[in-house]
Symmetry: C2
Subunit: 248 residues, 2 copies
């Protein structure tokens, strides 16, 4: 699974997330191989990998198709993320944080505080917040010292709109979004306080609820087929910055 394979997986993943390959689009091995200029071998491996990630669905005898992700699927995935990160926070509280974890979490919280002195975040601010947010969640999960949590989350990691690495925001309403992220940041503060004081159950509850902050407590999470559309911008290896845009 070297260069060729990774190239195919990354390219296909991006094409799916960007909407270039829409839901229900059929993917056959030979046309895909020709389009990407590689042989069928890495394509096969990539298809299987993306199927595991939940981005592709196997059609018996007819190749694969791009999975349709409904808003219900996203809500389900967020519930699961909530209980798993809740468990991580509780175990982190029970096992205690290392010196370096305490230091880095404190530093991340301070960096966030500095960001939220402004009333309205810029897109650059958001990128900083996004990086900080990802690292924050990563530390909590590491601190749980529970390999099974990481494994169970791996599936969710690749579901674009439910991933820890996803951050959805409405570009046209940045003042409101700033308040939303400031609230999420307060949740981070409380979670760290609970963990550092050995309040496992409280930490668990906060992180479980915090999962709902990802899509912004919208009554029904918007998805590709609704009147609003979520678009992935600024995708790095495993992180998505998502912008909410109006259809047409």
């Amino acid at each position: 699974m070297s260069t060729s394979c990774n190239y195919v997986i990354t390219t296909l993943r991006q094409m799916i997330l960007s909407g270039e390959l829409p839901a229900s689009a059929r993917l056959a091995e030979i046309p895909t191989a020709e389009k990407l200029g590689v042989s069928r071998t890495p394509i096969r491996i990539a298809f299987r990998t993306l199927e595991q990630e939940g981005l592709l669905t196997k059609l018996p005898g007819r190749g694969y198709e791009v999975s349709s992700v409904s808003s219900a699927d996203i809500e389900d995935a967020l519930e699961v993320r909530g209980v798993l990160e809740g468990l991580a926070a509780r175990q982190a509280a029970e096992k205690g944080l290392s010196e370096s974890q305490q230091a880095e979490l404190t530093q991340l919280l301070q960096a966030g505080d500095k960001l939220f002195t402004h009333d309205c975040l810029t897109e650059t601010d958001l990128e900083h917040y996004h990086a900080m947010n990802r690292r924050f969640h990563q530390i909590i999960i590491e601190a749980a010292q529970n390999s099974a949590i990481q494994a169970a989350l791996s599936r969710n990691e690749h579901l674009p709109f439910a991933s820890v690495s996803a951050l959805a925001f409405d570009k046209n309403n940045m003042a409101h979004e700033t308040k939303r992220f400031a609230f999420a940041h307060q949740q981070h503060h409380h979670a760290v306080f609970a963990i550092m004081n050995g309040q496992g159950a409280r930490a668990e509850g906060i992180m479980r609820e915090h999962a709902n902050a990802t899509l912004g407590y919208t009554p029904s999470a918007p998805h590709r087929d609704s009147h609003e559309r979520l678009t992935v911008i600024n995708q790095t290896k495993y992180s998505y910055l998502i912008m909410r845009v109006k259809n047409r």
Copy 2:
């Protein structure tokens, strides 16, 4: 991923679980292909699949090795299973059971009650209990109508001693084990009662705690390297009946 692939995956999985391939055993493509009488292609796919399942670990440039599963790994996996099945029970309570789910759960509980009129279960009884137990957990997860739970559990499903499909018991102490399973069966009763009466939080708590019943509330879960050894007997496609035996 047709006959050949499935044959290789199934065979390797069984060889790992039975201990024929011990932890840390190295697996290279060519010798494995020759031993199983297939080409390298299905072997490659099988290795990747088993890596995803957590049974194999990739060695950079040196193929794969059989993953070592520590007792801590098993406890971790059980914690994760607990929160996920807890979530499933809560959502089942919130969404309600269908007529057929109610009927089947009731029937499964009655069948269990009948089993536990005896003071000491036979091995045949245990097989019946095992089948009943698996179906019970399956229905709860289906009733949650949350696809992400199933996906998140799939990794655990293949970890032999933490799977829903695993049932460990000590053959030399069947009277005690009978009491243990009778207690687990009581938990089933309470979980169903809670779900049917819309008590989501209670159902969640019961099922979360119930995950610990799998390995029998032992102070430290025994694993392959301890003085006691868990052996997989009676392995069907995705179910393991595990017997606790003394080493040597």
